[in-house]
């Protein structure tokens, strides 16, 4: 048995991507002007659709629909009220009824006229949808956390690179919330950084809510998708931002809890501040001191990323202030309009977005490694090249989970 993703294939896609850059479309060419499809005259707008238009999805939709360089044409949601509201929002924007509404995301992705999609479903759907979008030639803006399991990340990166797609993760907070700290850190004010701490949580939990009748306004089978079957309960699928129960973000079949949900922001900000975005940890040490549990992730360059270190503040940096270090220019968004504009810029220019899927995956890997260390209550070594734990077969079992038929990844 070989559960591992294929490191050689990933390495090839990285180098082939670089070598084949000249083959990529160097500037935005609208879908309607490519190939031999029977369409109207080309538009200068990027044709977009949205999948999962709930709390976060509606915010993403509003950011894209108002752009002069986007034509928003389709929405998809398994909930009738969300779907109708999302379509109504677009119809109002354009003062027509042209926006098409779908229940099944595959129908939206199969449309040849759509250039790009934004995805804001519960987390257990992200990988499947991103990969399917890439196969269908779509660029993707995917909400964080981008993966539910460790196995999913490399598969998403592979799909993006294979088809030359621009795939952006969705944490706008990585750049926007931590600007001051990032500026100081990249400006050399902390000297040589030894460690940074992140306080975030909790882990997700099993959901065992009682069964209720499935209301008529939700396609329950499609909502569950690849997650284990369970009876409907409104608390199981509610999209509120809580992680303590009563929301899908709380439950292990759909989310990693606060550890991945807010972890995407805080670990993302932390790894950006200390400049390890392009790396994954090599070890996650489990600590149990005086009744307090915390983990410490060690990067190959020696940097320590603590999670819930006792008596340390969130994003507290341990360094050598006063030591002279040369400042480095801070990477920023390109284009206009924050992270959304950065994604649109990447679609037009074929330059990787600020929150390229590989960087986004590296962030959520931190959450997953920490979670597994807490679950097993022991220190683990992680081989980023092979995408497996070294010498811990039990931990490797937790790198993925079987998907419910008919969903295959």
């Amino acid at each position: 048995m070989d559960h591992k993703t294929n490191p050689s294939r990933r390495q090839f896609l990285q180098t082939a991507g670089a070598a084949g850059a000249a083959l990529a479309v160097p500037y935005f060419v609208p879908a309607s002007s490519l190939g031999n499809d029977e369409r109207a005259a080309p538009s200068e707008r990027i044709v977009m659709g949205g999948i999962g238009i709930g709390n976060m999805g509606s915010g993403d939709q509003n950011a894209f629909k108002g752009r002069n360089d986007v034509q928003y044409v389709a929405v998809c949601d398994v909930r009738t009220d969300k779907r109708d509201a999302a379509k109504g929002n677009i119809d109002k924007q354009y003062n027509n009824t042209d926006c098409k509404a779908y229940v099944d995301f595959r129908e939206l992705l199969a449309r040849p006229d759509i250039d790009a999609v934004h995805i804001a479903t519960p987390d257990h759907w992200h990988a499947l949808m991103v990969i399917e979008a890439c196969r269908n030639g779509k660029d993707v803006y995917c909400q964080k956390p981008e993966t539910r399991t460790l196995r999913e990340g490399p598969l998403m990166i592979e799909a993006a690179r294979r088809y030359g797609r621009m795939v952006s993760g969705g944490s706008q907070r990585v750049l926007e919330d931590y600007r001051d700290m990032v500026a100081k850190s990249w400006g050399g004010e902390f000297g040589t950084i030894k460690s940074i701490n992140v306080n975030v949580g909790p882990l997700s939990q099993i959901c065992n809510l009682p069964a209720e009748s499935v209301p008529s306004n939700i396609d329950w089978e499609l909502w569950l998708g690849p997650a284990p079957w369970a009876p409907y309960n409104p608390g199981r699928c509610d999209g509120n931002f809580g992680t303590g129960g009563g929301s899908w973000r709380s439950y292990v079949d759909y989310s990693g809890g606060g550890m991945t949900d807010w972890g995407a922001h805080h670990f993302g900000g932390a790894t950006f501040a200390v400049d390890v975005r392009e790396l994954q940890p090599a070890e996650v040490a489990y600590n149990d001191e005086k009744g307090k549990n915390y983990v410490t992730l060690r990067y190959p360059n020696g940097l320590l990323l603590h999670h819930n270190y006792p008596d340390r503040a969130n994003l507290q940096i341990e360094g050598t202030p006063g030591e002279k270090r040369e400042p480095k220019p801070v990477p920023v968004y390109k284009g206009e309009g924050g992270i959304y504009g950065d994604f649109i810029h990447s679609v037009k220019t074929r330059e990787k977005p600020f929150r390229d899927i590989e960087l986004a995956v590296n962030t959520v890997v931190v959450s997953h490694l920490a979670t597994i260390a807490y679950q097993l209550q022991r220190t683990l070594k992680w081989d980023a090249a092979k995408q497996e734990f070294t010498g811990d077969e039990e931990a490797n079992r937790l790198c993925d989970r079987a998907r419910r038929e008919p969903w295959v990844l």
Binding site: G17, G20, Y163, P228, L398, D400, V408
Partner: protein, 232 residues
């Protein structure tokens, strides 16, 4: 406490407070490294699967066997593969248990199921990158059920060997969703071949994908691959 929790499984169902099973969760952790205790726990959990406990209780047991299951639990789990309500959770464990018996159970199960259940078994064989299942998967590439054919193509791409690549090239599925999956799987196989230095084999795969009817993202992938094949 553990015995109480195991007893609680008999009446566990959706709506029960999951805290009653916490001692089992704790035992999964504390029995690590203790072969005897672990074996005992596994046996007690697996035994529940052949009793009349609820679907929810069996779901829970399969989640634990996903972590601690060994070849010992495989026969019991294999027996659930044909149960449309429990097949997925049986795979939840079987897909992650490294024992070769688990792979064999999935291979054996392939012929016993159909439709969506078969798609699930196929998917798990692909995730395991089970090279022994390539002939069986190849035979499903033009299955009358397009979802089965599609899953078989994806699984062959996961396996990624030269044999899998040949199966995809020879199989030529015709159903649109299976055809798209086979193209993607062929590209994945070609990447694996190229990464392992088998340029001639990779080029053959890429050449088989050349065609004006291919969507632009496939043409891009094929062109990039062929350029790489021509490189040093």
């Amino acid at each position: 406490m553990l015995e109480l929790a195991l007893e609680a499984l008999k009446t566990y169902d959706w709506g029960t407070d999951p805290k009653v099973l916490l001692p089992i969760d704790e035992a999964v952790v504390t029995t690590y490294g203790n072969a005897g205790a672990r074996q005992d726990l596994e046996a007690k959990l697996a035994a529940c699967l052949t009793t009349g406990v609820s679907r929810d209780a069996k779901d829970y047991v399969c989640r634990k066997l996903m972590v601690i299951g060994t070849a010992e639990s495989v026969p019991t789990l294999a027996g659930l593969l044909t149960d449309k309500d429990l097949s997925h959770m049986a795979r939840y464990a079987l897909e992650r248990i490294p024992a070769t018996e688990a792979a064999q159970a999935l291979r054996d199960g392939l012929a016993k199921v159909s439709g969506a259940t078969q798609v699930g078994v196929i998917g798990s064989l692909g995730v395991r990158r089970d090279t022994a299942s390539v002939p069986a998967l190849a035979a499903l590439l033009n299955n009358a059920d397009a979802s089965v054919a599609r899953a078989a193509a994806i699984a062959l791409g996961d396996i990624g060997t030269a044999e899998a690549a040949k199966a995809l090239t020879d199989g030529k599925p015709t159903a649109p969703e299976a055809k798209q999956a086979a193209t993607d799987a062929s590209l994945a196989c070609a990447e694996d071949l190229l990464a392992s230095g088998k340029k001639a084999e990779a080029l053959a795969v890429y050449k088989s994908l050349v065609g004006d009817g291919q969507p632009k993202q496939v043409r891009l992938a094929v062109t990039r691959g062929m350029v790489a094949c021509a490189g040093k």
